[in-house]
């Protein structure tokens, strides 16, 4: 018994030494060099006070909301804004929360609006991100807690046995995230700069081009403006389905709601106001949080195929989830209109606009 206690004590001491040293090393290192994300974060770290509107989300806002155009349209609606698109391809919860945390570390003073794409907290990792630093860098403690809660299910009323049964499916995903968390926290691979220095290879610098021509964070997808035939077939089918049965609003799972609530609290804590957006997609259901997330929420929903038919015309689409450049311009205009209306709504609640306030 004494030997076991001694072994346990030594184990704890080992873990303490390891964790403390990892934390010390980690806190002295800059944010890992993640393509696009790094450029945007570094740009914001220097010039965050120049912007009052921040757009955060995946490619569905990254390539679809044009900050320069948005500012112009907002000015026409009588509201001066200076916006920056901080969207990144495939950036979904909880990665967006990590990026938001990094931005807020710069203590922005002039930020008034944060436009957030609404998306569920997803467990599986995108296949194209596996094995890249992009999959690693956001795995910190608070993100892992969210993922673990998502995996174990947040329904406290369920019996442990049921919760464990439900765990079987996301267990693999959680293990994968766990490994990435360990990799991130233990700083594995962060000394690569040493090898680059010794071999006289220049370390890849910040790709400022990813900020776009106007340095407002917007770039086009780089894909052909025409829809590919295979995308067209799928899009037409899904559009027809949505015309028959419109996309339904889903309050989401408790963990997705909790993750969103956390983000909203952080945004509000710096005096900014969150604007939530559902981009024009043909999904069956969209995450639209309920009143438990907040009663003063503004959700701009563009998933109505009939109402925003112009966004769902084939000539404006790339696929089921994305519009092309012409579509992006239209979407930005519509978004600006709704955004301005959302601000004005406080004075005139009868305005008929795609705004949902739970």
């Amino acid at each position: 018994m004494r030997r076991a206690a001694r072994a346990a004590f030594n184990g704890i001491t080992f873990a303490t030494g390891l964790i403390l040293a990892c934390w010390l090393i980690r806190s002295s290192l800059p944010v890992p060099k993640v393509p696009i994300v790094q450029a945007k974060l570094e740009h914001l770290a220097r010039r965050v006070d120049e912007y009052d509107t921040l757009i955060l989300g995946s490619s569905r806002v990254f390539h679809q909301i044009i900050p320069a155009r948005l500012d112009q349209r907002m000015a026409e609606h009588g509201l001066a804004t200076r916006s920056f698109n901080c969207g990144v391809d495939g950036m979904r919860p909880p990665e967006d929360a990590y990026v938001l945390d990094q931005i807020l570390r710069s203590q922005p003073r002039n930020l008034r609006w944060v436009i957030l794409e609404l998306e569920y907290l997803r467990m599986p990792l995108d296949a194209d991100k596996k094995g890249t630093i992009r999959a690693v860098y956001w795995h910190d403690w608070s993100r892992m807690v969210l993922l673990a809660r998502r995996a174990f299910g947040d329904d406290k009323k369920r019996k442990l046995k049921d919760r464990l049964r439900r765990l079987r499916e996301p267990l693999g995903d959680l293990a994968e995230h766990g490994a990435l968390f360990v990799q991130n926290m233990t700083n594995i691979g962060r000394a690569e700069v040493l090898t680059q220095f010794l071999t006289r290879k220049r370390a890849p610098g910040v790709n400022w081009h990813s900020l776009g021509d106007r340095k407002d964070g917007f770039i086009t997808t780089g894909r052909p403006e025409m829809m590919l035939e295979e995308n067209r077939l799928l899009f037409e089918r899904e559009r027809a389905q949505r015309l028959e049965a419109p996309a339904r609003s889903d309050a989401g799972d408790p963990v997705s709601r909790h993750a969103l609530r956390q983000m909203l609290e952080k945004i509000r804590s710096i005096g900014a106001r969150p604007i939530l957006v559902v981009p024009p997609t043909t999904s069956k259901k969209n995450f639209v949080p309920g009143p438990d997330v907040g009663t003063d929420l503004v959700v701009l929903d563009f998933s109505d195929v009939q109402r925003f038919s112009v966004l769902y015309e084939s000539r404006h689409r790339l696929d089921t989830d994305h519009v092309n450049m012409a579509g992006a311009e239209i979407f930005t205009d519509l978004f600006a209109e709704a955004f301005a209306a959302a601000v004005a709504r406080q004075s005139d609640p009868s305005l008929d606009l795609p705004i949902r306030t739970p």
């Binding site: 030594n10 001491t13 030494g17 390891l18 090393i25 010794l198």
Partner: protein, 504 residues
């Protein structure tokens, strides 16, 4: 599954816990045997769900390459088990010899087929082409089972030792299967002799005899050697060998010196981790390295480098060939044969043959030098003693160039731009004759790093760090190890290559 991978630690923790929780020796051995085969299977079965899905569906063609590797391992074990029993039951010397011949032919046959068939066929074809006799392509698409060179030598050592009456044949198949498949030494050695390992197998291991602190320290040292040193200097070496002739003399020197560092840290790092892992389970493996780069001559080098292989070759090949029990010429022939075959053991390539031959020549030269300077003046011996270590190291580095040289292939056209031999020659022009080839170079910090590594290695060889960590209290050792692991993980690259000796 590599020793430096996160999943290995999970695997080992489970294995370790169950091993010591089990009471009986047979249960422990069975458990370790199962785990060893699982460890071996991890190298080739890829996605488990997909693998077993294909097995259930009978889609054998969709299974990953090497799914049948365990069959070779088990087949080899079964054969040597039968041979051992056969030799043990026969009193007649001729019958015993026949059984041994069966074992040697079967083991070497398997090894030759998998490892050398294509090499011999291609070399014979080239040779005939040289005489103007075109040949058909008789090469086969053969995949070399992991660790075959190591476990074949181990199982052969068992048969030979039983034949030589140094060892009683094992009655339990489990014991022999466990000896051959024991996972720490299965894929890259050290080549453990049956005489060393089997007596341990018969006795129940006792936890109280395990020096946990020493094991953890040894594993940590091995981890640092592989993950922090070998993996970080590898890009420098790869750069040089991928672009021979484009580096200046300093760049070439750095590349070659760092290859010496890389291969030592890679292989001895693996061995350290293997020995530590085995010790944590209560088993002792053969020591494989003893600061080889501080050897004062080539004979001493081979007593310090890959000791398990060099002693195996000495006991089972060199002595069997007659050793030094004949004329000088006869001894030198045996030496050359042993070293050339030792070189060939590393891989089916002329590079390794040349590498082995160079070591054979060096051994002969050293013997002659010893004979000639037996009565030399003391001052001469003193001078030689001073330059012996750097001179031996320099020669070893030259031989490493042949060991490492591989053809340079244009990635776009897939055309061989330079053969391995040409690569070696280009590098040696710079390394030996100081012929300035190109303008590329490495930073001066490479030299600083090399000197620092050499100094640390020298301090280790002087046992400077040998005991202080034993004197500190447990808790401070644990905390220090935690800090050490954190620093090592920082230097560990995100992606790493397999151990160099895995390919052999």
């Amino acid at each position: 599954m590599l020793f430096v991978e996160f999943r290995f630690f999970i695997f080992f923790l489970l294995l370790f816990g169950v091993h010591w929780a089990l009471r009986g020796n047979t249960a422990r051995k069975t458990w370790l045997l199962i785990c060893s085969h699982f460890f071996y299977a991890c190298f080739f079965w890829g996605d488990l769900g997909e693998f077993f899905g294909n097995v259930r569906a009978g889609a054998w063609d969709k299974l990953p390459v090497g799914w049948w590797f365990p069959a070779v391992l088990i087949g080899s074990t079964c054969m040597d088990y039968a041979v051992g029993l056969g030799i043990g039951r026969s009193e007649d010397q001729t019958r015993r010899r026949l059984w041994l011949i069966v074992s040697i032919i079967a083991n070497l046959g398997v090894l030759c087929f998998f490892k050398y068939y294509n090499f011999f066929v291609a070399s014979a074809g080239d040779f005939l082409c040289w005489f103007g006799m075109p040949t058909s392509d008789w090469t086969l698409q053969i995949f070399l089972p992991y660790g075959i060179s190591f476990y074949t030598f181990q199982s052969m050592s068992y048969s030979i030792d039983v034949y030589r009456r140094r060892l009683e044949p094992v009655r339990s198949f489990l014991d022999l299967a466990f000896f051959i498949a024991f996972f720490p030494q299965l894929v890259a050695g050290p080549i453990v002799r049956a005489m060393t390992f089997l007596p341990q197998v018969f006795v129940t291991r006792v936890w109280a005899n395990v020096d946990v602190r020493a094991c953890l320290t040894l594993f940590f040292i091995g981890f640092v050697k592989k993950a922090c040193v070998s993996e970080n200097v590898a890009p420098i070496v790869d750069e040089l060998f991928a672009n021979p002739g484009k580096y200046d003399v300093y760049g070439t020197w750095i590349g070659v010196l760092f290859y010496a560092v890389q291969i030592y840290c890679d292989f001895s790092g693996y061995t350290d981790m293997a020995i530590a892992t085995a010790r944590l389970l209560g088993y002792e493996l053969t020591v494989n390295f003893h600061y080889p780069y501080f050897a004062a001559n080539i004979t001493e080098f081979w007593k310090r480098w890959h000791i398990s292989l060099s002693t195996w070759l000495r006991d089972y090949l060199y002595i069997s060939l007659g050793g030094n029990r004949g004329s000088k010429l006869f001894t030198y022939r045996n030496l050359m044969l042993t070293m050339v075959l030792g070189g060939l053991w590393h891989g089916a390539s002329w590079n390794f043959v040349i590498w082995g031959a160079m070591h054979g020549i060096a051994l002969i030269v050293h013997r002659e030098y010893q004979r000639l300077t037996e009565h030399a003046a003391v001052w001469l011996k003193r001078i030689m003693a001073w330059i012996a270590v750097p001179l031996t190291f320099y020669w070893i580095c030259i031989t490493w160039v042949f060991f490492r040289a591989s053809p340079v292939i244009d990635e776009k056209t897939n055309v061989v731009e330079q053969t391995g031999f040409e690569v070696a020659r280009t590098i040696l022009d710079s390394f030996v004759f100081f012929d300035q080839q190109g303008k590329r170079t490495f930073t001066i910090w490479c030299l600083v790093l090399f000197v620092a590594l050499a100094f640390i290695h020298w301090l280790c060889s002087r046992q400077v760090f040998a005991t202080w960590w034993r004197r500190i209290p447990d808790w401070s050792y644990a905390a220090l190890l935690g800090v050490g692991v954190a620093i090592a993980l920082f230097f560990k690259p995100e992606k790493y290559s397999a151990f160099i000796y895995f390919q052999f």
